[in-house]
Symmetry: C2
Subunit: 405 residues, 2 copies
Amino acid sequence: MGLIVQKFGGSSVANTERIQNVARIVTDTYAKGNNVIVVVSAQGDTTDDFIEKAAEVNENPSKREMDVLLSAGEQISMSLLAMAIEKLGFPVKSLTGWQAGFLTDSNYGMARIRRINNERIENELGKKNIVIVAGFQGLNRYDDITTLGRGGSDTSAVALAAAFHADLCQIYTDVDGVDTADPRLVKNARKLDEISYDEMLELATLGAQVLHNRSVEMAKKYGINLEVVSSLERKPGTWVKEVTDVEKMLIKGVARDNDVARISIIGLEDKPGIAFRIFSILAAKKINVDIILQSIGRDGTKDISFTVSRSHKDAAVAVLEEIKKSLGAHDIVCEDNISKISVVGAGMQSNPGVASKMFEALTDANINIQMISTSEIKISVLIDIADSERAVVAIHDAFMVDYIK
Amino acid sequence: MGLIVQKFGGSSVANTERIQNVARIVTDTYAKGNNVIVVVSAQGDTTDDFIEKAAEVNENPSKREMDVLLSAGEQISMSLLAMAIEKLGFPVKSLTGWQAGFLTDSNYGMARIRRINNERIENELGKKNIVIVAGFQGLNRYDDITTLGRGGSDTSAVALAAAFHADLCQIYTDVDGVDTADPRLVKNARKLDEISYDEMLELATLGAQVLHNRSVEMAKKYGINLEVVSSLERKPGTWVKEVTDVEKMLIKGVARDNDVARISIIGLEDKPGIAFRIFSILAAKKINVDIILQSIGRDGTKDISFTVSRSHKDAAVAVLEEIKKSLGAHDIVCEDNISKISVVGAGMQSNPGVASKMFEALTDANINIQMISTSEIKISVLIDIADSERAVVAIHDAFMVDYIK
C-alpha cells in the first residue's frame, strides 16, 4: 500500500486490446489499496504519423506548432485509457501535461521540467481517483504547450515519482526488462535482475532503448525506486537502484548506437583556446557533442575529432565551415558509416582487464577500431557500421560466457 | 481593414491540399491589412474516428473523457494550419480553447460559453500574429476541457466576433452559401444572396447543415456581420443580417430533418397540469422537445404528441413509462419512420397563402401529412420518411418557380 507511478509506452497502448490490458494492470494495482498515477505515451506510431503529416504541410515547421501537434497524441491515448478504466468500474481522471502541473522551460521539442505544481493531482488522488497523466508534455511560462523530446514520458514518470514521493516507479515496456544486449541482435542476451543508476545511465545514453537517460539521471538524483517491467507478461522486471550486487558480473550490458556521425577538423594550429572556441560555438547552437578526441597531426598541427547524432551533422559542419578560416584549419571531414559499441558495468572499476578483453573480442572477429573512449564504468569504440552486429555479439558473448545458461 | 474572424469546418481542412488552400485564404485577408482570427474544426472524419475508437474501448464512456479525446482533433488541425501559414511566410500562433480564453459551463459534450478572456488573443494580435483558435472547445471552472457539441465551431467563431467586436465573421463551408434547399436533394436549389437572422435560425434548427443554430442566435444577439461563403471557390456567399430585402421571396428555404422521433401519450385524463408535469420531467432529463401537439381523444381523454431527436427517443420513452400510471395514460406510442419538412421565410408573415400553397404541393404529390406545426416565419409538417425527398422537391419547386433560372 502506497503511491505507485506506472508508465506505459506507445507500444503498450497501441491498440484497443493493449489499452484494455494496461487498464487491468492499473486497476489491479489500485485494487490492492495503492494510489496510482499512470503516465502514458502516444499510441504506437501516432507521433511518427503526426511528423509525417506536418512534413507534408511544411518541411520546416516551427517547434512551437510541432509541440502543439505532437501533444495531441497523449491526449488521445490518455482519454482512451481512462475510458477503459471506467469500463472496469474504477474512478479515474485523465490530465494533460498542463492540467497535471508540468511547468517547463521554453525549449520547444526538448523542454526541461522546471517543477511540478502538485495541487491538481493531489486533489484527484484525495478523491480516490486513478490519475492518468499525459507523458512527454508540459507548459511554459507563456502558457504554451511544450514537449520533452523523445522518451520524455519516462522523465515525466520519474518526475512525478519524485514530486509525490512515490514508493515505486514502474516503467512498463514491451520487453521483459533491461537486457545485457538487444535480444534482436544477440541470441544469448539475458534479462538483468538489477542494475545501478550509473550503469543504466550509461546504457541509456549509449543507445539502449529501454529508458530515457534524463529519466535515469533524475531517478538517481531523487533516489527513486525504479523498476523496468513487461506490460505483456506479468513477471519480475529489472530493478534500477543505487548499488547492486555486482561482484560477479564484470559488465552489465553491451549497447550499440548507429545514430552517430564523426566530424574531424584537420590541421589546427597548436595554440591554447582552440578546443574551447570550437565546442562553445557548437554548444551555443545546441549541438550535443559526444566523444571528443584530440590527436597530434603533422607539422606541429593538431586534429580534433568528435561525434554528434546524425541529425546534428549538417548543422555542425555548417558551423565549422564558417569558422574554418579563423581556426586556421586545413580541412573538415565528416563520416557517418560508423557505429558506436559500448560495454557498461561498475565492475570494471576494480578489474583492469575489461578493455583488453573487449579489444580481444573485436580482434578475434577481425573488426577494426576507429576511435576509443572510456569513462569509469564504460568503454566505447567506434567501428564500421557494417561490422556492428557482429561486434555486439562477439563482445557480449566474450563477457557473458559465464552467465549464459 | 479591420478585424475579421474566419471559420473553417472539417471538410475545409480535410487534407494537406485543403489546408494549404485555407492558408492562402487567410493570408490573403491578412495581407490586405486586416487582423485575422481563424477558427478551425477537426479535420474531416477525425471526430467520427475518435468516437469509433472510444466505442471500442467503452460503449458508454464519461462525457468528460470524451471531451478530452475529441478536443485533440482541433489541436491537430490548428497546428497543421499554422504550419501551412508559416510556410507562406506569415506570423501565426495556434491556440487551444483554453489558451484562447474560452470559459464554459461544465456540461461536457454540450457546454455553453460563459465568457471569453480576451487577453491572450489581444496580445497575439498586438504582435501582428494571425491567430488560429481551436473551435468547439473550452475550459470549465475545474480546469477541465469541455466541448460545445456538434457544430460548436460556428459558435466559437461568432463568440469571438462578438468578444473582439469584429467587423466581419465569415463561415467558410464546402457549399456556396445558404441554399433554398439541399442541392443534393433539389436540382433547382439556388444560393440566397441574403437571409435574416430569424430565417437562418429557423433553417439551422430545422436541419439545414450550413450553420449551427446557437451561432445564429448569438450573431443576432450581438448584431454580428455574418457571411456564409465557399472555401473552395472565391465568390460571394450569403449574408446573414437583421432585415433582408424579402418582399419578392415568399420563403427563403425548404429544410428536411430526418433526425426526428414522435412520441404519443394516449388517453390522458383531461385535468390541469398534466402537460406541465410531462414536459418539466423531460426538461429535467435534458431531453429537448421540438413540436408539441395536444388533441382531444376518446371519452373525454386527451392525447399529447411531441417530437424529439432520435438519440433522445429511448430516454424519453423510459421516463414516460415510469410516470405513465400516475399520469393515468393508456398507452405510449413511438414512431421514428418520419421526417420533418419545413418552409421558412419572413415573407409569410404578410402572405396568408403560404400554408395552403405548401399543403397543395404535398397533395399534388400524394403525400400524407401526419402533424403540422407553425411559427411566425415557418411551417413544419411531419410526413412518412419514404416520401421526404419527393416532398422537399415538390415544395421547393412550387415556391421557387418564379426564381428558378
